[in-house]
Symmetry: C2
Subunit: 512 residues, 2 copies
């Protein structure tokens, strides 16, 4: 046994079973350790943003961390954008990064980069292993830290990985759930009983089936409304589950929703703020005259705090949750546009589907239309770092091989992590990628229009247009069965075929 074996054995014992890897020389002993120690599935990504986005998708579905294996500072840097999304999602996730041998790092070799500085921008927990004997303990601590809903980054010098470590004990992990603040729950209960116009703002674990059912009972018992944060990490949704509306993206529309409430109680959500600050607009979306409260303070106790709140307001006895009834939108016809693709998806998505939505402007009509679909899970980009959908789909499919994954995806965003398609093919994952080809960063055109600076000039157009990508060839280049559709009539059988056949498929939806 060497140090790398000790690390992997500790991770296996803790419950890690997948490693999304893009290793280099300073991680090769850890690659060997995946062979020496049973229990972890190694999945190769050809770009690090694939690995980190996949680990995010995996963690959201499994509620335990996957491990990434990344090469030194530059490899870690390539994974940061999707780690930023994972941080905003509160996803449990462990990064393992090789570092130059302890005796070599002072020479500042070409690949040396300040890994700790990079890590500080995304990690809730960070440690560089300081001694061979600490490897198992540090790995166990990384797992415990990740389970709190944060990114744990463990930097492992190359020499510790290759050094003999026979006889080292494997440290076990212990996951505690911190108690929630019972007084905060009582305070929220008092607010709910006060007959004010009240909204329960749900985020994080409160949007999984259990949290939603509890929240819906509270709604029935108290008459409050439920509001879903704008970019939720995961929503369990569909017929037989409570329907929640997402808070709109644009601040003026979000304000229109929120102004109706005297009281806002956050359950797993942050206080809503504008995504961007616009000239003459606001930053906070809640005014000083509105009262706010919060229940739960940790990913693992939000559900318990919600249940205690339910009990305090008597909802566990009287609250009969109002649930979405089965229902699908009517199938449209003719040439595709962004509204129609939303409708087609909601009309067709199968039971237990995992919908990974990064369709940006093209997907705005989807969420509401899918309220009555057979139960499914919705994942979306939480931190605004685009290029999340394709790798998140990889992670969701690895986590849940028995569930069909549909990646409803904008073309511009897909390009950032387009290498995800290769991993989908290599692992034969059941992912159907629906690419909205509108040949444009449409969201930026919307922002140009909002800024009211007149018609965009040549660069205003040139830097927001992205014509000329053939998505069928892009999928086929990486081994994914691919087809294009420009009408509903062509799209429907293409989706049927993709869902019926094993392995990944890509459908280029040409929007007009």
């Amino acid at each position: 046994m060497n140090g790398a074996d000790v690390l992997i054995q500790t991770a296996v014992n803790a419950g890690v079973d997948v490693c999304f890897a893009n290793p280099g020389t300073t991680e090769m002993p850890l690659v060997s350790a995946l062979d020496n120690v049973d229990g972890i599935r190694g999945v190769l990504g050809l770009f690090e943003g694939v690995c980190t986005g996949a680990a995010d998708g995996y963690g959201r579905m499994k509620e335990k961390p996957a491990m990434t294996l990344l090469h030194l500072g530059p490899g870690f840097a390539n994974g940061l954008a999707n780690l930023h999304n994972a941080r905003r999602a509160g996803t449990p996730l462990i990064n393992v990064i090789g570092e130059h041998a302890t005796w070599h790092l002072p020479a500042d070799p070409p690949l040396a980069m300040e890994i700790a500085a990079l890590s500080g921008t995304v990690s809730g927990w960070h440690r560089t292993v300081g001694a061979l004997g600490d490897l198992s303990r540090d790995t166990a601590k990384a797992f415990e830290a990740a389970m709190a809903g944060q990114i744990a980054t463990l930097v492992v010098p190359h020499d510790f990985q290759w050094s003999a470590a026979d006889g080292q004990g494997i440290v076990s992990t212990e996951i505690r759930t911190p108690r929630f603040d019972a007084r905060a729950v009582e305070h929220a209960a008092d607010l709910l009983k006060a007959n004010k116009r009240t909204a329960l703002v749900l985020g994080g674990p409160a949007l999984t089936r259990k949290g939603l059912m509890t929240a819906a009972r509270i709604r029935s018992a108290t008459g409050c409304d439920l509001v879903c944060e704008t970019f939720p990490a995961r929503v369990d949704r569909g017929a037989g589950l409570p329907d929640v509306a997402k808070l709109p993206y644009l601040p003026e529309m979000a304000l229109e929703v929120l102004k109706h409430y005297d009281v806002l109680i956050m359950a797993g959500a942050r206080e809503p703020v504008a995504f961007f600050g616009y000239e003459g607009s606001v930053s906070r979306l809640i005014s000083d005259s509105q009262r706010t409260a919060r229940i739960g303070d940790h990913r693992r106790n939000i559900i318990y705090a919600l249940e205690a709140l339910s009990e305090s307001v008597g909802a566990d006895r009287s609250g009969e949750p109002e649930l979405a009834r089965p229902g699908r939108p009517e199938m449209p016809t003719g040439k595709l546009d962004s509204n129609k693709v939303c409708t087609v998806l909601a009309a067709m998505q199968p039971e237990k589907a995992i919908i990974v939505e990064e369709a940006i402007t093209s997907g705005m009509g989807y969420f509401a239309q899918a309220a009555g679909c057979p139960p499914f899970t919705y994942l979306t980009v939480t931190g605004g770092a685009i290029g999340h959908g394709p790798p998140c789909s990889v992670g969701a499919a690895v986590a849940c091989p028995d569930r069909p994954v549909i990646n409803f995806q904008a073309d511009g965003s897909a390009m950032y992590t387009v290498q995800s398609l290769w991993t989908q093919a290599r692992e034969n994952l059941n992912i159907t990628t629906l690419v909205c080809n509108n040949r444009s960063y449409d969201i930026l055109k919307m922002e140009q229009a909002r800024a009211q600076t007149g018609e965009p000039g040549p660069y205003g157009r040139k830097l927001t247009d992205l014509d000329g990508i053939d998505w069928v060839k892009m999928g086929e280049a990486q081994g994914v069965s691919s087809v294009a559709a420009d009408t509903v009539e062509a799209l429907v059988p293409a989706i049927e075929k993709a869902l019926k056949e094993d392995g990944p498929h890509l459908i280029e939806m040409q929007l007009f």
Copy 2:
């Protein structure tokens, strides 16, 4: 005029003429400014690593900075790996990054990330604009800082960009060249005259035509050897230029070269160190018993220091530089392998070509074989962060539209920034990409063999193999004319056609 216009006008006045951009909402006023103010060509990349790698290639060729325009922390993060390469290359480069409006940032909106922490890992100069009135001065300072051969990062809050700034003066830049240390040159001259076995280790600007000619005169006058650093930023090379050998990549091979010298004088190069620390190997490649010296301490004074050294040793009068004679290797035949593709390239590359080499294991035989080619320029990855070749080619082609660019490229590395092909097509750049398809991270297999841990297991293979990429479709998907070749007989006419026709071409070289 608004703040964004002031920034762009300042950059134009300083001499910036290209902006490699992947903007978002917080950069849209700067996009408009590219229309409002004449003088900067905006080039869109569909991934930020394309923009930063292109700016690196541009800066190496033009010896002045291109500007990047990147979106907030996550967009900047995506560009870091190639900025790491640019930092190691000493490339002049300016990043302009939008930040949330000053009054919005404290709300910690979803896309907020610690930009300064990211910047610290690559930037020699960093500033967040603190007041609207500072915009022009800060932009001018960024340019001056970049001209010293480093990355200057300017973070510009969104509200400063859109705010009216009529009547603000545009600050001019002033570029000074710091004097070199004349005593260090005299010391080096004494060492050269002492009849010890001496090598002049060349790096940075010392490898351009002027530096090389001066160094070669010193060689002729003193009998010293010339050594080229292992991963040079730029080498002017070919018939009529001095031939220099690159220091080998593997430490045992580099030690074999360096052990012959009693004295090593660095001119623009760092003291050589091992790329990786291996078990039982060394970190520094120069021993304590060898004497070292250094001339020049700034990108802009290396050449002057070399010229002073030449004068001190009398080489400006007596030194007749020994120059490479014209000569090409003989054209091989039959199925392609990594040796043959090096030979084919050296046998065919046209005069004035810019060869961007990131062929990794497949390219090891190239540099030496090209010594007698018609004069050309060689660029390579300096910091080990792979995914450099395709975007660097974009920057080189934008910088030098009259020179053919050939990107000699490994398949694994190409995937990290594969979106570069789209920009090559959009801008109709004269780039021929020669992809070495060996379906493998061969460098990692070499490292596995070096570690002598026996035959790799299933994951040892699975995480280093990358089968199944169709490079012809990958090129065509992004609008690049593409073809495959598996023999020399097929490759030669494909290269001829690519070089004759306008615009980008990709040739998949299937290696056996």
